[in-house]
């Protein structure tokens, strides 16, 4: 080989490596789908695909908010508890004969308010995000137990149950809501000044501030959005289950963060995409679905999920080692 071809092949190698780097989560997902389609007849069918999308929609919606939080170099551990409290409040109000619309709005307001409170403590009082949201995780969970007296609130109007259980054509409503939120999340991050500022704040907060960005406001808003989307998931969940459980959403934050990280969003901040998060969510969804179809006991499913996360992060760090 002469120098030119050496150079040429080096360039191809570079290109392929960059391609693999950018789409490795997608490639991983594709590989899982291909393997599963051979292992089970029921896997690659439209109903099952829609089923997977519906199953991941509740956590996926939260993952959209979490993506913004993590890009802004934060973390939100309180999402599962906010989901439970918002759901409980919505259920409680409906049980007290409030209209569905108002009950849902109040539920969403509760989630947004708690997120706002997280954001204020983190940005204005300069407390560590990990601690603030860990505290909120406990506070919101406690409030959900207090509000419900520790008992589920069950039995909703069929109109309300349509949100979590209904379909348009073949497509489940939660999946549609998830898709809409994905699109909005994508547009916000890529097309708006607010989205750009999220990347700037997460990439270098000091520089963003000196460039004139109100960094506190950006941080407060991402936590508020995370709270709002947790509440949205809360409403969908109680509608689907026809019951608001004060213990709903325990440990959801871990799966939600896993979806975001599997999608390539960096925990260091400043980097990440909604498309990645969708793939991350689908990886978790396909994994759970596959293990179910293959009849793997649920305890092992947890182990498998942990291993997938480790492998993904390991691949990422191997690649970026200097």
């Amino acid at each position: 080989m002469d120098d030119a071809t050496v150079e040429q092949s080096a360039k191809y190698k570079e290109f392929i490596l960059q391609f693999l780097d950018k789409f490795k989560a997608g490639i991983g997902l594709l590989a899982m789908v291909i393997v599963m389609s051979f292992l089970s007849d029921r896997f690659l069918t439209l109903p099952n695909m829609l089923n997977i999308f519906r199953q991941v929609s509740i956590m996926g919606i939260m993952a959209v908010g979490m993506t913004m939080v993590i890009i802004a170099q934060g973390i939100d551990l309180s999402v599962g508890s906010i989901l439970a409290l918002s759901g409980a409040v919505t259920a409680g109000m409906m049980a007290g004969d409030t209209s569905i619309a108002l009950a849902v709005l109040v539920g969403l307001a509760v989630g947004t308010g708690l997120g706002l409170f997280n954001g204020l403590l983190i940005s204005k009082a300069k407390l560590p995000d990990f601690i603030v949201t860990l505290a909120m995780m406990s506070i919101a969970r406690g409030l959900a137990l207090v509000y419900t007296g520790g008992r589920p609130i069950s039995g909703f109007d069929p109109a309300f149950r349509w949100i979590g259980g209904g379909r348009i054509g073949m497509v489940p409503i939660p999946a549609i809501i998830f898709a809409i939120i994905l699109v909005i999340g994508y547009l916000v991050l890529n097309k708006t000044t607010f989205g750009r500022y999220i990347y700037a704040v997460g990439g270098n907060q000091k520089a963003a501030r000196l460039a004139g960005i109100n960094t506190d406001r950006i941080k407060i808003m991402v936590y508020a959005i995370s709270g709002l989307l947790s509440a949205v998931s809360g409403v969908i969940l109680i509608s689907r289950l026809n019951s608001a459980q004060p213990t709903a959403g325990v440990a959801y934050e871990l799966d939600v963060i896993a979806m975001v990280v599997l999608g390539g969003t960096s925990l260091i901040g400043g980097k990440g995409t909604i498309g990645g998060t969708l793939i991350g969510a689908l990886i978790i969804g396909v994994l759970n679905n596959s293990l179910n179809l293959l009849g793997v006991a649920s305890f092992y499913q947890e182990v498998a999920k942990g291993l997938v996360i480790l492998v993904a992060v390991l691949l990422d760090s191997l690649q970026h080692r200097d």
Binding site: V6, E7, A10, E14, Q18, K191, T192, T193, F194, R196, Y197, Y199, A200, G203, N204, K206, A207, A208, R209, L210, A211, G212, I213, N214, G270, K271, D322
Partner: protein, 497 residues
């Protein structure tokens, strides 16, 4: 003939879209100080990274060390063989003491650290090097100059035979520079070779034996320092002649456009008052830590507990945050490009448009790609930012080009007053001159500039008046025509005019 210690032959290294090094030769003899100079992006840092195993994947070339071919795969491996590099951004742990840093990862004792031995050995090293230092002090309490000494001591304690120093004097006071040079001469006596990377050409004539010039990834020439002069090196670096002196700007008759009165921030600055005229370049000089940057930051709305009044074009400003300052036409260029200026993971374009993004919209809050693109294009070409394209991540550019990106961000806001804090720190002669020229052009357009610098020659060359800061106070203002290095230094060290 001196003994050849290190020889790099035909080194080529490329990054996506950039040929960083093209068949570069570089060699170092035992006991010599060999300068490596070139503009930003010329390939100096890359060459050093190839040498010390940070970039083991160079495409072509060989490295011979002590006559043996080597290819270090990591900095640790290079370190072990006796090659140390001292980066511009020091790599010490601020919360640990001097002694702990020197022996980091090699602490004496098994499992438990033998603190007595640690301290004794650290003390011995500094004594041998003739450096006065309290080895029990935490790094964060030391000056940058002292921190650098610790880095050097650390390298020596690991039996380094070649030490590469990247811009070692960029943050040092004159006195600290003298100490560093004395230390370098001692090291030389002991046969240690130094690779000296610097933009300060005077230093090269003071301390170096040979100089290798790089330009655009090619080696231009290697020569004995005694065989060239400054102008010749500059010519080799930039490939053309550059003008060193600047015509004085006549802003004396202009109106004051900016004024601060009794600016005070508790514990940092006290009662500072001055004015800047339209089209004037006003210098702020002083020793490291005197409070120059703090004055700039106070004006820019960084401190919540600031008192005193700020006027721009006659009206009093209520500046509570940098965002307020920018809206009113004041912009601060930080001295700390990497930590406070760049958003490394964003592209060149997105870094440029950051401060006026809210004006580049289709409807409120929605970015107009077309408007953003045109602004980005305008400033990339206006400032001659050398980048493969606006999409390139800003972290992949050289220091000088990164600085231009931030200047583009600043200029896009059409400021009336720009405070430039060490705008030429750590960038090469060519880019420096471009920045000087830009400052002149801005002043000619009527922009007022406050120019903070530790390099007296550039302050004296460019400014029409110099304010000197000492311990957070304005010690005096000298008109440019009367300003000399001696006068400025006298005030900067607490003397009176």
């Amino acid at each position: 003939m001196a003994e050849k210690l290190l020889e790099m032959k035909n080194i080529s290294k490329s990054f996506p879209g950039v040929q960083a090094l093209s068949e570069v030769d570089f060699n170092v003899d035992k006991g010599e100080v060999h300068a490596l100079v070139g503009e930003n992006g010329a390939g100096k840092s890359t060459l050093m990274k190839v040498l010390t195993g940070i970039h083991p994947d160079y495409e072509k070339g060989q490295i011979f060390y002590k006559g043996r071919e080597v290819r270090f795969k990591s900095p640790a491996e290079a370190q072990k063989a006796g090659l140390a590099i001292i980066h511009q951004e020091l790599e010490l742990i601020p919360e640990l003491t001097v002694a702990e840093n020197v022996f980091l990862g090699r602490e004496p004792g098994r499992g438990w650290i033998n603190r007595k031995k640690l301290k004794a050995e650290a003390k011995k090293i500094f004594e041998e090097l003739g450096i006065e230092i309290n080895i029990n002090k935490k790094i964060k309490h030391l000056t940058i100059g002292k921190q650098q000494m610790v880095e050097i001591a650390k390298a020596i304690s690991q039996d380094a035979e070649v030490i590469a120093m990247d811009e070692p004097t960029s943050s040092l006071s004159q006195q600290e520079v003298e100490l560093l040079f004395a230390l370098i001469r001692d090291l030389k006596e002991e046969g240690i070779a130094i690779i000296y990377i610097s933009h300060h050409l005077e230093e090269i004539f003071e301390i170096c034996d040979r100089v290798t010039v790089l330009r655009d990834g090619f080696k231009v020439k290697e020569q004995a320092v005694s065989e060239v002069d400054r102008d010749e090196i500059v010519r080799q670096m930039v490939g053309r002649d550059v003008e060193d002196r600047f015509p004085d700007i006549n802003a004396e008759d202009n109106q004051a456009v900016f004024e601060v009165k009794n600016l005070t921030v508790p514990d940092l600055i006290t009662d500072v008052s001055f004015e800047v005229k339209k089209g004037e370049i006003f210098g702020l000089a002083g020793l490291m830590g005197a409070g120059r940057s703090e004055i700039a930051r106070a004006i820019y709305g960084v401190y919540k507990n600031r008192t005193g009044d700020i006027y721009l074009e006659g009206s009093k400003l209520n500046i509570k945050s940098p965002g307020d300052a920018i809206d009113r036409g004041i912009y601060y260029l930080t001295e700390n490009r990497k930590d406070e200026g760049l958003i490394p993971e964003l592209s060149v374009g997105k870094n440029i448009s950051l401060s006026i993004l809210d004006q580049l919209t289709v409807v409120k809050n929605v970015i107009s790609r077309r408007k953003e693109k045109s602004v980005v294009r305008e400033y990339i070409s206006k400032l001659d930012v050398r980048t493969p394209g606006p999409w390139q991540l800003v972290k992949n550019l050289s220091g000088g080009n990164q600085q231009k990106v931030i200047l583009g961000r600043i200029l896009s806001t059409n400021p009336k007053l720009i405070i430039m804090d060490e705008p030429t720190r750590g960038i090469d002669v060519g880019a420096k001159h471009e920045i000087y020229k830009l400052m002149q052009e801005l002043a000619a357009e009527g922009v007022a500039i406050i120019f903070i610098s530790s390099e007296l020659p550039e302050i004296l060359n460019l400014t029409s008046r110099v304010g000197i800061i000492y311990k957070g106070r304005l010690q005096g203002i000298i008109p440019g025509s009367e300003a000399t290095q001696e006068k400025v230094m006298n005030l900067a060290t607490g003397g009176s005019s």
